[in-house]
């Protein structure tokens, strides 16, 4: 993991005054060693690490102090939190929740209003410089009043909470790239976390919503290595977003053979042929759906017969129509071509008339050479 960007103090868990280690916490909840090791193995394979790393992960997690996590939700639909919490019980997802100390989360915490804000402030103060900040939702910049929590604007809350964060995890396409609030015409002036916070390491975990195991995988990576994973050019961890849906799609052989479903209920669709012509954005989308899959590994959208809509890419909402094939023009080109041809035909006739005029004029001034000209001196 040499390429990892190590955080300043190398270990975000150090100095966390909240409770004991993850090992203690798991044992107190009656989690067996066996299921713990299984969790470590899953984590290793998710992060594309060799099995030889499993004991190292186990050791790191056992002794990790539960880091304080503050989760802020701005302009969002709670889909990201739903994705995470509706995931299958007693899996990696729920285990990871035992591994962190979730000190603030609107949807999940019992406290509300000012009491909740007080909890956030306490957690921030006690873990200054060490807590992990998770954000879902975009931040409106046009008018701070568009989205507030306990009277605090999203912008203020984000900048204030980011100050003491060791790292920020932006969860979902809204927090990472502005997402649906940012879609044309962007009525609230919504922006992403990265547009505002420039001085902290930010891990982008896009998706609408992101795959739960990808969210927890990123958290597990952070817990295990105390560092943020290697990121791609738009801030996504390469382990999960390194390959396009198209390159890992099980329908790819049909694409290569040129076998496509033309409609949602034709023979091709029934035979499970490629969904490119139905608008699949798999070729331009980087996410782990085709490998990790959804609902505890059950399937992913393309497996259910629906084309990928490209939800983990910036501006996927304005990508020219979900059901329009990628190679198609987004506007009506035949109309343009016909109008252009009609206009040009008129222009062509005019130009030709001019040419003829020129020709006639030069014909007129043309002086014929006769035999007499040759004898002239």
């Amino acid at each position: 993991m040499k390429k990892d960007l190590l955080l300043k103090d190398g270990n975000p868990q150090q100095g966390n005054p909240l409770g004991g280690t993850l090992g203690e916490s798991l044992r107190s909840q009656g989690v067996s060693r066996r299921s713990f090791m299984k969790f470590c193995a899953t984590t290793a394979s998710m992060m594309a690490l060799p099995p030889s790393m499993i004991p190292m992960i186990a050791n790191a997690l056992e002794n990790a102090r539960r880091p304080s996590v503050i989760w802020l939700s701005f302009q969002e639909c709670t889909g990201c939190t739903e994705s995470l919490t509706r995931a299958h019980t007693s899996t990696v997802e729920s285990l990871i929740f035992d591994a962190i100390s979730l000190d603030y989360h609107h949807t999940l915490q019992a406290a509300s209003g000012h009491a909740a804000e007080a909890a956030r402030e306490v957690a921030m103060e006690e873990n200054f410089g060490n807590y992990l900040l998770v954000v879902d939702g975009s931040i409106p910049l046009d008018n701070p009043g568009y989205s507030t929590i306990a009277g605090i604007s999203n912008l203020d809350m984000l900048t204030e909470s980011a100050k003491g964060a060791a790292a920020i995890v932006a969860v979902g396409t809204c927090a990472t790239y502005g997402g649906i609030p940012h879609a044309n015409p962007n009525p609230t002036g919504a922006v992403s976390v990265k547009d505002i916070i420039k001085d902290k390491p930010i891990i982008n975990v896009p998706g609408c919503p992101p795959i739960p195991v990808v969210i927890t995988g990123v958290l597990a990576h952070y817990l295990t290595f105390g560092a943020i994973p290697e990121l791609d050019h738009i801030g996504r961890p390469k382990v999960f977003y390194g390959q396009s849906i198209h390159d890992r799609c099980y329908r790819r052989p049909f694409y290569d053979k040129g076998q496509f479903a033309e409609t949602f209920d034709d023979e091709g669709a029934k035979k499970g042929w490629c969904l490119y012509k139905l608008g699949c954005k798999g070729p331009t989308t980087y996410n782990a759906c085709a490998t990790t899959k959804w609902n505890n590994g059950t399937s992913f959208p393309i497996e259910s017969g629906h084309p990928c809509i490209g939800c983990s890419e910036p501006d996927f909402w304005d990508g020219g129509g979900f059901y329009k094939a990628l190679s198609l023009p987004t506007e009506d080109l035949s109309k343009t071509a016909v109008y252009a041809a009609a206009g040009a035909a008129a222009a062509g006739v005019a130009v030709s008339a001019l040419n003829r005029g020129k020709k006639n004029a030069s014909n007129k001034i043309h002086i014929k050479t006769t035999i007499d000209d040759l004898t002239q001196e």
Partner: protein, 219 residues
């Protein structure tokens, strides 16, 4: 501008602008040639122009032996890349889909492996034509800026398409956007350069044939 925004621009406004320039440019230039007109020929002559013109359109497509011997590299690489371009442009599924959207009908596509092979042939053949042009002394003497420009704008969509298909170097949305933009560049340059031969070639050939088919003195 994000990658997807760039892609959307290329698929939307960019394509509109390029199409307008291409269609208008080609229509005006072809009309200009056709409307030049020919003088009415009052002399009665032996030998038909039409059949000779049509025949030449086909016969000139096959190089004669001496010409072939003299410039075999030009002819072989030229044919190879023209055929390659045809296959890659008109038989790959995404391209057919694009054309179908504009002209209203489509046709079966070739498997990606076939398209891929023809793309490689096209790329190699085009490189050969360029090297030949630059190393052959006569050819180099005859080469002007327009020759290099037309080579470049034709080569660009092929190589960017190949790279986009294999996802080399950049991420897919950018690669696809760059490929579409390179096609737009080709469309914009097309009507103003010798690329127009795609439309004028057969007109010119017919005319050549017509002249030699005509027997007699024109009035």
């Amino acid at each position: 501008m994000t990658e997807i925004e760039l892609l959307s621009w290329a698929r939307g406004p960019g394509l509109q602008i390029a199409t307008i320039i291409f269609v208008a440019g080609v229509v005006i230039r072809v009309l200009e040639i056709l409307l030049l007109g020919r003088k009415a020929n009052l002399a009665e002559a032996k030998g038909g122009e039409m059949s000779s013109g049509l025949k030449t359109m086909i016969t000139r497509t096959v190089p004669d032996r001496t010409t072939f011997k003299r410039s075999s590299v030009t002819i072989v690489s030229g044919y190879a890349f023209h055929i390659g371009l045809f296959v890659v442009c008109f038989l790959s599924a995404p391209h057919i889909l694009f054309l179908k959207d504009i002209i209203g009908f489509g046709w079966p596509s070739a498997p990606t492996a076939v398209i891929d092979a023809f793309a490689v042939i096209t790329i190699i053949a085009m490189l050969v034509t360029l090297v030949n042009r630059l190393t052959n002394r006569v050819m180099r003497y005859l080469t002007n800026f327009e020759d290099l420009l037309t080579w470049f704008v034709t080569f660009l969509p092929v190589i960017t398409g190949y790279i986009a298909f294999h996802r080399i170097g950049m991420t897919a949305p950018t690669l696809l956007a760059v490929h579409i933009l390179s096609v737009e560049l080709l469309l914009v340059v097309f009507p103003f350069t010798k690329l127009m031969h795609a439309f004028t070639l057969f007109i010119a050939r017919w005319y050549n044939g017509a002249i030699s088919g005509y027997r007699g003195v024109a009035s």
